[in-house]
């Protein structure tokens, strides 16, 4: 494991940005003098200035690396000269030119990968944990220390004492992929369940469809939205969070689809909306339940769809909170769900005036209450009507601060549209403690209206072109190794006892994936051992005992880095440049650890072996595609799939027990949430809190960011400016704050200092910052020190566990 030095490092190593600038200025002054004296400098300054890099051979390489703004999308054509990355452009090899995308972040990687924030060598902690004091060590020492610590923890405390924890890191499909399974330890990668993040709406929605994914995938390819009449985006800002695909929304709008955006702020997406509905933060369930009320009361639901594809006609035992079925068995001995064809759900057959199985061909009654053997049964629709009787638009208007007329109009537009799309974002409603209710409520809206399964309809998170089914092969580990589940929701780690004693962090999980940084700080400091793996010295790194410097997606020791299916294209990741400094790819780090721990034989010997395994096990659409063919085609080849965009649920069959949209959730009956009922966000609506901390604190998504990535990147800061809070003119004036003032933002949990920007698009009563600023980038303090980490007990019974309510945070702002 020799240190892979690189002459690039001479220029940037150990130079802070200020040093770099000063050095350049004095060098520049000297060169300027020289330039004046040389003849060519006088006459043809252009020639005199030609950079060394220009004289080097130019090379092109292709990769898909991009810092992952939520959906693998862009493929990159990279140009290097003299081993330095000089240009990044969108790969043009897609079969639809609109897919050739890139954004300011991808381009700024030229600047970012050479940043002074790069970790240059493995480090060992030299002071207290959290101090950020380190000494440089060799890779040998780093790997052996980490390996020994992992082994020790597993031996002494069991495999659940180790947790691999990833944030949306610098790499896309890399990170640590096999080691956790080989060790038998749990891992939380990017978006799985149990992290308390991005699964709020899925918590409530997925029980309806039976399709379990913490982030509910948008069911229709965004390119079909031009066939919709109405597109409703709730807490979703794709004009900033999905730059690669927002054009399809705009194209749909140009084709006549009405764009409606529900958001507290006048976001970049809201500006393009035909109708922007400002909503009070954290009140989405009220809006949704009032819409449900309006739809039911006025018969605006799609009766045929409701009767045939949803559980609305099903009878439920009101007291027990369960569906009435032929027999009480919902699970068999093996614990599998008993399907409706075996044990049917029951409806009321109005013709026979009796209970009947739902699949008996009877015409069910939609609104019915009946007493059988002393038990009261109601159809779900009847129960809904009663449940939502009080959820009038007028009631919701008070809570959401949306006029009742607008609530009605929104409900009508969505319900009566020929085709409508409903889309949510993970940065909005998902981050409030009532997000599961929002998700559940949204599933009712979809179920009442039938806007799913056809082009121009759909529900889910985000907007993307969807992949057709085209499974790749897998790298199989030997049978004896099984994936280990998290012992409990990671959201509870910082607040409750857990078996975790060793944290292996990949990316910036510590500062980014937990709220209330004081609590996180305490927890991390209580652990036995912390590893951090990252190209950059992000805030999490300061907590590490061992720091492993990794490459960015542009660097590799190997010619081939990876393979992905991106938008129905096989996209190859090649090496673009050599690893900078003494860094290694995630792959190589994992290989070194596996070899040290004796697992070397089980994992690919290099990424190309992995890629070949993925290709050789791939299904038909991949036929004929090899690493060589990809290399010959600039790293991209279309898969042999239908050109028709994907619309899921076209057959309107859902993987629930009944095969239908099961809007009534028995598991939540004990919480009074079998049907979604609005619940206030505790901190936002507390009058006691409001008297001290009147402003809601939003940490919002931004085009300048992928969470905490790019926060300090100079090319991005050039167009984004300094870390700032944005505040409405009224709130600013009341506090004597002007643009450019330094302000203190604080609550009981913490305090931060930022520059203020008085921004008219901000909702009064709400301030926002772009998420992810590092404490070293703020004027003072950690933006995460303010956020709310209080978990909602009900959600422990949800599929993905409790979510961390980052957005249910109130603060006050004053001039510093």
């Amino acid at each position: 494991m020799e240190n892979k030095g690189n002459e690039n490092s001479v220029l940037v190593r150990n130079m802070s940005r200020r040093n770099f600038m000063k050095g350049a200025a004095t060098m520049g002054a000297a060169c300027a003098g020289a330039g004046m004296l040389s003849a060519s400098g006088w006459l043809s300054p252009r020639e005199a200035l030609a950079d060394d890099v220009d004289s080097e051979q130019e090379e092109k390489s292709f990769t898909y690396h991009c810092a992952n703004c939520g959906n693998p999308a862009c493929a990159l054509e990279c140009t290097t000269r003299g081993g330095k990355l000089v240009k990044i452009e969108p790969n043009q090899g897609w079969n639809d030119p609109r897919l050739a995308t890139i954004c300011l972040k991808g381009i700024s990687e030229i600047n970012r990968i050479y940043s002074e924030d790069r970790l240059q060598t493995p480090l060992k902690r030299a002071g207290e944990r959290g101090e950020g004091k380190f000494v440089a060590i060799t890779w040998d020492e780093a790997i052996s220390t980490v390996g020994d610590s992992l082994k020790k923890a597993i031996e002494e405390h069991g495999p659940k004492s180790v947790c691999f924890y990833s944030s949306s890191s610098a790499n896309t499909d890399d990170g640590i992929r096999w080691l956790p399974t080989l060790l038998g330890t749990p891992a939380r990668r990017a978006h799985p369940a149990g992290g308390g993040i991005d699964c709020g709406i899925g918590n409530g929605y997925d029980d309806t469809t039976g399709n379990y994914a913490p982030v509910v995938p948008q069911s229709s390819d965004v390119r079909t939205w031009k066939d919709s009449d109405v597109m409703v985006l709730v807490g979703h800002n794709p004009a900033e969070s999905r730059l690669h695909s927002v054009r399809y929304v705009l194209e749909a709008k140009e084709a006549g689809s009405e764009l409606i955006v529900v958001d507290p702020r006048y976001t970049t997406t809201a500006q393009h909306a035909d109708w922007w509905i400002p909503i009070k933060p954290g009140t989405d369930p009220a809006l949704i339940t009032a819409s449900i009320h309006h739809i039911i009361e006025n018969g605006l639901y799609n009766e045929e769809f409701v009767l045939e594809h949803t559980a609305f006609p099903f009878l439920v035992d009101v007291e027990a909170g369960t569906y009435l079925r032929a027999t009480p068995e919902t699970k068999d001995e093996a614990g599998n769900v008993v399907k409706g064809d075996v044990n049917p759900f029951m409806v009321w057959d109005s013709a026979a005036n009796a209970v009947a199985p739902y699949n008996s061909g009877a015409a069910p009654e939609l609104f019915k209450e009946v007493v059988v053997d002393g038990k009261t049964y109601k159809t779900v629709m009847q129960l809904a009507k009663e449940t939502y009787e009080g959820a009038t638009p007028e009631w919701a208007a008070e809570i959401t601060e949306i006029p009742a007329e607008d609530i009605k109009k929104l409900a009508e537009k969505y319900a009566t549209a020929g085709s409508a799309v409903l889309s949510y974002g993970m940065g909005g409603a998902d981050k409030y403690p009532n997000s599961d209710i929002t998700g559940h409520g949204m599933s009712l809206l979809v179920s009442l209206t039938g806007h799913i399964g056809r082009p121009g309809t759909g529900f889910g998170e985000g907007i993307v072109p969807l992949n057709h089914p085209a499974a790749m092969g897998k790298w199989k580990l030997p049978e004896q190794f099984k994936v280990s589940k998290l012992p409990q929701s990671a959201a509870t780690f910082t607040q409750e006892e857990s078996p975790v004693r060793v944290l292996f962090g990949i990316g910036n999980p510590i500062n980014q994936l937990f709220a209330n940084s004081e609590a996180t700080d305490k927890w991390v400091k209580s652990l036995d051992f912390v590893v951090c793996m990252n190209p950059y010295h992000c805030p999490s790194v300061d907590y590490a005992d061992i720091v492993l410097p990794t490459t960015t997606g542009f660097e590799s020791e190997y010619d081939v880095r990876g393979l992905q299916n991106r938008r129905d294209h096989a996209v190859l990741a090649e090496k673009v440049i050599e690893p900078l400094f003494d860094s290694h790819t995630d792959f190589e780090v994992e290989r070194m650890l596996c070899e040290y721990l004796g697992f070397g034989d089980y994992i690919p010997k290099d990424p190309e072996e992995l890629v070949n395994a993925l290709l050789s096990g791939a299904k038909d659409p991949w036929k004929g595609i090899t690493v060589d063919t990809l290399k010959q085609n600039n790293g991209i080849q279309p898969l042999a799939v239908s050109p028709k965009p994907v619309v899921n649920y076209a057959d309107l069959k859902f993987p629930t027990a009944s095969g239908r949209l099961e809007v009534f959730h028995p598991s939540m009956a004990k919480h009074g949430q079998a049907l979604p009922v609005h619940e206030d966000c505790e901190e936002i609506t507390s009058e006691e809190v409001a008297s001290k901390y009147p402003l809601q604190y939003g940490q919002v998504r931004s085009r300048n960011r992928v969470h905490s990535q790019f926060a300090g990147t100079h090319w991005i800061k050039d167009v984004n400016g300094e870390p700032a809070i944005r505040i409405n003119p009224k709130d600013a004036e009341a506090r004597g704050i002007k643009t450019g003032d330094v302000v203190r933002v604080y609550n009981d949990r913490g305090s931060v200092k930022f520059v203020a920007q008085v921004a008219k698009d901000m909702r009064p009563g709400q301030i926002s910052i772009q998420e992810g600023w590092w404490p070293s980038q703020t004027i003072e303090g950690n933006f995460q020190s303010l956020t709310n980490d209080k978990l909602v007990d009900r959600q422990r019974d949800r599929k993905y566990g409790p979510i961390i309510p980052f957005m249910d945070t109130k603060v006050e702002v004053e001039k510093a």
Partner: protein, 205 residues
Amino acid sequence: MTKLGIAINQSRCVGCNTCSVSCKMQNRIPSGMLWNRVLTNNSEVADSAEGEYPDLRRTYTPLACQHCENPACQRVCPTGATYKDDKGRVEIDYDKCIGCRMCMAACPYNARVFNWAEPVRDPDFAYGDKDVPLRPKGVAEKCTLCKERTDRDEEPMCVKCCPVGARVYGDLDDPNSEISKIARLGTAKVLEEHFGTKPQVRYYK
């Protein structure tokens, strides 16, 4: 005759600045300045809005050299360093630029930037297209309509990289080109029309 230009769809522009950053990369623009910038109209703070919450409106105006048919900058340049070429682009011959900055005073769009200091690049090598000349301190520079690319019949980098397809490039003298069709739209306009500079950059909705 060729009259190259760019049309920008302000109904699509999301103000992301990908055009600004891609231009910076391609044209090896040093730290401290940009050739293209994205303005939030009538705002003091980027991404703010006009009006009062919730009655708001926002428009982004990406702004760079307008490659005017009647360029004020070219008129005043004492050495003829600024010239209008046969493809209709307004260009600067850096060898002739004496740095008097008369062009900067004359341009109604503040489209030009000046190398007040020795150019500093971060990362500290000449990224971008190697055919693009590196400029010394003391000369003015601006959007060249990606001269090196458009000479190779490639579209400007800002057009190539715009993620929402808000930019169209083409020949305004070709009546069948996409840009000419856009120029004939009712919503198509130029900035500061009253100055009579006749920009070849059009804005439409």
